[in-house]
């Protein structure tokens, strides 16, 4: 019977030969997940780079994605998956921004569980990413926007290769110092909307330095869409992640949901290994 496809349930769900092939092999990959993770491609470096963008509501995730599409789409093939609470607000925003073919922007419903959809059950997002990769092959980059959630939400390494965590100056100068998994350990922290700093009484330089002190050297960018140098810094970071991914040197690092705790000697770690607390 003719299959009438609906806007949000794309018709291409056919497994490719390589998918079936990769399903049969169950070799551990370099980050300890099995090859099932790279479901639709035999090699992870051969598929596009998957970048997660998360952070609290309204910090500028969709705007940052629109900015990247504008800056990169001349020479890179891009797809976008959005997870807004009410499904397609973000997708509509991005479609109306006119920076990417609307067919390359897909909205995923999370059943009011935005945190689950990027962390403990990434299936719906992975399927959306794979479908974009199949339909518009070869894609260089797929950007996944999380539904705006709290400060503890970060992406599972099973979904993205690298992730950007956004906060903004309007959220207050203390946010960076308070920390949290995304602020401390996302691959890139963006302190957004620095153009607003004078109006909200926040010193962006202090905010970035606070963030730097909890991030143990991981990069921080103070961004404003009105500041071309900061936009350039962001684009440079994305390109360098892409280069690392293609070279096989990018190993997804999990910021984790756990706060590290501090020992008397001042070293910190998360509970990845078992140990007894005295």
């Amino acid at each position: 019977m003719p299959e009438q496809t609906t806007r949000n349930t794309p018709s291409r769900l056919i497994l490719t030969e390589s998918e079936r092939e990769s399903a049969r092999s169950n070799e551990p990959t370099r980050h300890g997940l099995t090859s099932e993770r790279a479901d639709s491609t035999p090699s992870e470096a051969a598929r596009g780079l998957r970048i997660g963008v998360c952070g609290p509501v309204g910090t500028g995730k969709s705007s940052l994605i629109a900015l990247l599409c504008r800056e990169l789409s001349a020479d890179l093939e891009i797809g976008v998956v959005t997870n807004d609470i009410y499904t397609d607000e973000d997708a509509r925003f991005l479609r109306s921004a006119g920076v990417l073919d609307p067919a390359r922007i897909r909205a995923v419903e999370t059943g009011a569980c935005p945190h689950t959809a990027i962390r403990d059950d990434v299936t719906a997002n992975l399927i959306a990413v794979e479908e974009l990769e199949e339909e518009f092959a070869p894609l260089d980059v797929v950007l996944v926007e999380s539904g705006g959630d709290n400060l503890t939400a970060t992406f599972s390494p099973a979904l993205v290769d690298t992730q950007i965590f956004l906060i903004d100056v309007a959220g207050g100068g203390d946010v960076a110092r308070k920390g949290g998994p995304g602020i401390e350990r996302a691959d890139l922290l963006v302190v957004n909307k620095t153009d607003l700093a004078p109006y909200v009484g926040v010193d962006p330089v202090a905010m970035v330095s606070d963030a730097g002190s909890v991030r143990e050297g991981r990069p921080v960018i103070a961004l404003s869409r009105t500041d071309p140098a900061s936009v350039e810094a962001l684009v440079t970071w994305v390109r360098s992640e892409l280069t690392r991914h293609r070279g096989g040197a990018l190993v997804p690092a999990d910021p984790g949901p756990m706060a590290p705790h501090f020992h008397a000697v001042g070293t910190s770690h998360t509970h990845e290994h078992d140990h007894q607390h005295a």
Partner: protein, 220 residues
């Protein structure tokens, strides 16, 4: 080993198979005026219609996998009994989601490989492959399909309506005998034309409307 533990694993809401994206048309029903106290009736009407089709499909597929018979006629029979295109799409997407998991759990299963080789298998076929591999009996498979549907709607109802979670779970509990009746009813089926063909036009309409609304929480 009894099939109990595998059943529990497959029925667990924490299974990473995108279950949290589904409301079983409840979101569309609520949008069109369904109230909290009508949810149990809604659940029962699903058991009497779409769930019987899904459970019957799963059981017939299980029989044919074990007997080495082709599955395409089962997929066709299921599609013919699932007239709303968005419902077929949803079941196929959920089939793809479940396939990710069962391929990991049973990498050497010929049953799983056979279902994976079909063009867009629906969810009951993937479940049947897991059941055939894990030694789950037809009645148990029917129970699994029915139970999963009850819990899907119950859990979505908590997101959509002002409810006490204890109420939602007690509705599921109260409908267990109905689920059991469904499971024993479909368990002996072996042929695609045996699959029940009830109709629930209101559910079909809700599924179709929902596929075209924006601002939805659930995929279907």
């Amino acid at each position: 080993m009894s099939d109990d533990l595998l059943m529990m694993l497959l029925a667990d809401a924490r299974l990473p198979v995108a279950g949290h994206t589904q409301s079983g048309q409840l979101e569309a029903a609520v949008r069109s005026g369904l109230t909290a106290d009508q949810v149990p009736v809604f659940m029962r009407s699903r058991l009497a219609s779409v769930v019987r089709v899904e459970a019957g499909t799963a059981v017939v597929a299980l029989h044919r996998l074990r007997a080495g018979l082709p599955l395409e006629p089962v997929l066709d029979a299921w599609a013919a009994r699932t007239p709303a295109a968005p419902m077929r799409d949803t079941s196929r997407t959920l089939g793809r989601a479940l396939l990710r998991l069962v391929r990991r759990l049973f990498p050497d299963s010929t049953h799983v490989a056979e279902v994976a080789g079909l063009k867009r298998p629906c969810r009951p076929l993937v479940l049947a492959a897991a059941a055939a591999t894990g030694g789950i009996a037809p009645t148990s498979l029917g129970r699994l399909v029915a139970y999963d549907d009850l819990q899907t709607v119950a859990s979505a109802s908590l997101k959509l309506l002002p409810l006490d979670p204890l109420d939602a779970t007690s509705w599921v509990h109260d409908l267990l005998p109905e689920a059991e009746r469904l499971a024993t009813g479909v368990a002996p089926l072996t042929e695609p034309h045996h699959i029940p063909a009830p109709s629930a036009p209101q559910l079909d309409l809700w599924a179709q409307t929902h596929a075209h609304t924006t601002r939805r929480l659930f995929s279907a």
